[in-house]
């Protein structure tokens, strides 16, 4: 294996991805036009609370999504530099730095002007400046203290003048012996606590809009979300086929519709088409990469600067990244728990069991289930330098899959949207070592 040569084989990406691009572009265009159309704008990060805003006709800016978009379009530098100039250090969450940097840019040019001038296609000029300034913040960050503080610092950056609502998401730890995934005394208490806060949040939204909260609209939005969540999970579960018809990288590019795209027929249609493509590929025996020799699991958050690069890199190794914690353990994956007549509790459940908010023992059980379902040969753990929320349990996860499933692992260092933490040479040698180890096991018949 030549570490330096250009990949010869490329990932066979899902064709439906192009539909996703259009939805993402439309969504951001709506965001940029929010002020011109007289809509209120909410900034938030973390779990997908956007249906709460959508039901009240508020436009929303999801901090991570925005930072990831800037990175994916090589447009993150200006915002990151603006943040650095205000004194935010490089070891801080790169999503937060990028997003706060946009806040700094907004401050620099005067809040009033924000967003209104944009009517052009995305990608041109200073993208970081196009984000409309917030009319409110809603903070609902699971597990990661950075999340809550990120919102707080934005709140302070905007002079403590923009109203903020804090939802405290308890970590699913499990002091009591009855603690299980989705159950036990503490989980049930946490769920009720979340519902109470979500309900209070709708009151906060009413205060901002001056209108009665539209519960019917929330139910309708959540019906699309629930269906999209189900279709996505079904499509992903079909990828236990060999060769797997799609990869983790396809699923990362398909997160937007279950993360921040408005709930509506569009997201349902998207996953219907995605699932149909998966079914067709299985019928045609077509894989997500040209030749599937190894089936891998990706633990950790995505590296948005390198998504295409990594997809092709693994394709070139004949390694299909079949599943991942990020994609498979979050984003309305517990769609069954959503009761459309009273969706708050089901929403709370999905927020509580998102891919970072489970303590290690509970999380590891879910990961092991996935590794078994997808017949995984090895695990890549992406240690995102500035995302300790994702990096925290990785040694425990690696230990568990090595001991319980006999899987070789490779830990690679990188980041979400800060390219400078990615070290390609190390990545190559670690992945190659893991693949050699899988190979050795296959030879002596250890692996299935």
């Amino acid at each position: 294996m030549n570490a330096i040569a250009q990949p010869l084989k490329k990932a066979n990406r899902l064709k439906t991805s192009s539909l996703n691009n259009k939805m993402v572009n439309d969504y951001w265009t709506d965001v940029f036009n929010a002020k011109a159309e007289g809509k209120l704008v909410c900034w938030y990060e973390g779990v997908a609370i956007n249906p709460l805003m959508q039901a009240a006709d508020i436009r929303w800016v999801h901090g991570e999504a925005w930072s990831a978009l800037l990175a994916a379009r090589n447009n993150e530098q200006e915002a990151q530099t603006a943040a650095e100039h205000r004194g935010y250090m490089k070891e801080l969450c790169s999503y937060a730095r990028t997003h706060i940097g946009c806040g700094v840019l907004a401050q620099n040019r005067g809040v009033e002007a924000s967003g209104s001038s944009f009517s052009d296609a995305l990608g041109a000029g200073k993208l970081g400046e196009r984000i409309p300034a917030p009319d409110m913040f809603i903070s609902a960050y699971p597990y990661c203290s950075t999340g809550q503080q990120w919102d707080e610092m934005l709140f302070r950056l905007f002079g403590k003048k923009v109203p903020i609502f804090n939802i405290s998401v308890p970590w699913v730890w499990g002091n009591k012996p009855d603690a299980i995934y989705l159950g036990g005394t503490e989980f049930n208490e946490a769920k009720q606590y979340m519902v109470k806060q979500l309900r209070a949040c709708t009151k906060f939204i009413e205060e901002q809009t001056g209108k009665k909260y539209n519960w019917d609209s929330l139910g309708e939005i959540m019906s699309y979300t629930k269906t999209a969540g189900r279709l996505r999970m079904e499509a992903m579960e079909l990828c236990n086929a060999k060769p797997a018809p799609a990869s983790f990288f396809d699923w990362t590019t398909s997160l937007a519709p279950v993360n921040f795209i408005p709930g509506g027929p569009g997201i349902v249609e998207y996953f219907e088409k995605t699932k149909a493509e998966i079914v067709q590929r299985i019928a045609d025996n077509e894989g997500g990469i040209p030749q599937e020799k190894y089936r891998l699991f990706w633990d950790g958050i995505m590296n948005w600067n390198k998504i295409g690069w990594l997809a092709n890199k693994f394709a070139n190794y004949d390694a299909n990244m079949v599943a991942g914690r990020y994609t498979h353990m979050g984003f309305w994956h517990e769609h069954e728990s959503i009761d459309l007549n009273d969706p708050l509790e089901g929403m709370a459940v999905n927020y509580l069991v998102c891919p970072i908010n489970l303590s290690a023992p509970l999380m590891i059980e879910q990961i092991i289930k996935l590794c078994k379902h997808y017949e995984i040969d090895g695990m890549v753990l992406h240690a995102a330098r500035t995302c300790r929320a994702f990096s925290n349990p990785q040694y425990l996860i690696a230990d568990a899959v090595q001991k319980r499933l006999g899987l070789p692992v490779a830990m690679i260092e990188g980041d979400m949207v800060d390219e400078s933490f990615y070290k390609d040479e190390l990545v190559n040698s670690r992945i190659e070592a893991m693949l050699e180890s899988i190979e050795a096991r296959k030879r002596v018949g250890i692996a299935a």
């Binding site: 250090m89 801080l92 809550q148 503080q149 707080e152 730890w173 002091n175 300790r388 040694y395 425990l396």
Partner: protein, 390 residues
């Protein structure tokens, strides 16, 4: 006991906290409950007849711990993981904690995995301090903690015992605050190192024993006249979960700085606020928890009623400090997030400050010395200019 002997007793506990707790356990037969910094009340564990000990970063190089946690974590987190991996915590009867900094949560998972036979309990403190439900939620959390302790000891915690523990802890804070007052006023010469070991030992020693030693120290200090000192008055800010290295404190003073005040966790932050001694103890603790953040604001909390930067500017005025040195533990996310607010406020007010990043692995202070010396040169010139202008 001479002053030196008293300080040595404090220093032994501060420098060898686990050994000191282990010895206490052996001689007194009490359970030892470890906790992570910074907001967890020891009063309830004490009322349950246990010795509460705040787990500390130690001075050992991190070795096996790096097999369980990445190197890009703060020194406290890595050191705690390392100590757990080395079996240092095996003698603890329980670890109970409530703070939510994401790095500490990572350590908690590892600690629980390494101590399968120890109760490692998390009672998550609400970190958003100004919500309508903040007080109620804090009380619920303390109730859960009380129940967890009761389950361990097998009987209910007596309310009068809780009041007694609160009084004892209050007394400890008051004695330590008195020492701060004496230093600020120039009535006692207490170095930064000495102040640290006074507070740090309080985190790990039995409070009654600590109070006794503090009483003796105060009596000795009253007897002696403070020697006048020359130097620039320095305010130290920052360093939360981990105590600043003694070498850094000594270096600052060697360069001609006189540390007159601080907001360090191993300092004023720990002792700032007392708990109401009457009424329902859980109500009192919940109230204490929220009030504490107004007394000395903490960047790990979000609080619309507190502004750390303004607090620091006021505190500098109160202690007549000439400059502030910010000690930032490398990779400390809460501090890194808040720092730009401080920087901006201090620049706007024209108050000089110096930011120093510290690390667990930092053992040579020469590189820092250049910065501290230059900073003190600048501060000296500016305070002279101020004096001339005044």
């Amino acid at each position: 006991m001479s002053i030196d002997a008293i300080y040595s007793a404090f220093e032994r506990a501060a420098e060898q906290p686990l050994e000191s707790a282990k010895a206490w356990k052996q001689t007194h037969g009490t359970r030892v409950v470890g906790s992570f910094p910074m907001h967890f009340p020891g009063e309830l564990a004490h009322a349950a007849g246990c010795l509460p000990v705040i787990l500390q970063e130690n001075h050992e190089p991190i070795t096996v711990g790096h097999g369980m946690i990445y190197p890009f974590y703060c020194g406290f987190t890595r050191s705690v993981v390392d100590q757990a991996c080395k079996g240092d915590y095996d003698f603890l009867d329980a670890i109970m904690f409530g703070d939510h900094c994401v790095q500490v949560l990572g350590a908690a998972d590892v600690v629980r995995a390494k101590l399968p036979n120890t109760r490692v309990h998390f009672y998550q403190l609400i970190s958003s301090m100004s919500d309508p439900w903040s007080l109620g939620r804090a009380r619920e959390t303390f109730l859960n903690l009380k129940e967890g302790l009761e389950e361990m000891i097998g009987h209910p915690i007596d309310e009068e015992a809780t009041h007694a523990s609160i009084r004892l802890f209050n007394k400890n804070r008051q004695l330590l605050r008195k020492l701060y007052d004496l230093r600020r006023a120039g009535d006692a010469r207490i170095t930064a190192k000495q102040m640290q070991i006074l507070v740090k030992s309080s985190m790990v020693m039995d409070k009654a024993a600590h109070n006794d030693l503090l009483g003796r120290l105060l009596a000795e200090i009253e007897k002696t006249k403070a020697i006048s000192q020359r130097g620039m008055r320095v305010y130290l800010s920052g360093h939360f979960c981990q105590s600043p290295k003694i070498g850094v404190l000594d270096m600052i003073e060697e360069c001609g700085g006189i540390v007159v005040d601080d907001d360090l966790y191993h300092g004023q932050r720990y002792i700032s606020t007392d708990v109401d001694e009457t009424g329902d103890p859980l109500d009192a603790l919940a109230k204490w928890y929220l009030e504490r953040n107004l007394k000395v604001p903490c960047p790990t909390r979000v609080d619309q009623n507190a502004d750390w930067e303004n607090y620091l500017l006021d505190a500098m005025e109160r202690s007549r400090a000439d400059g502030m040195i910010v000690l930032m533990a490398k990779f400390c996310e809460p501090h890194m997030y808040y720092y730009p607010e401080i920087k901006e406020a201090f620049e706007k007010r024209g108050v000089p400050h110096l930011l120093i990043e510290t690390e667990h692995e930092l053992n040579s202070f020469e590189g820092l010395r250049t910065r501290v010396e230059t900073f003190l040169e600048v501060v000296k010139r500016q305070s002279a200019a101020r004096r001339i202008a005044a």
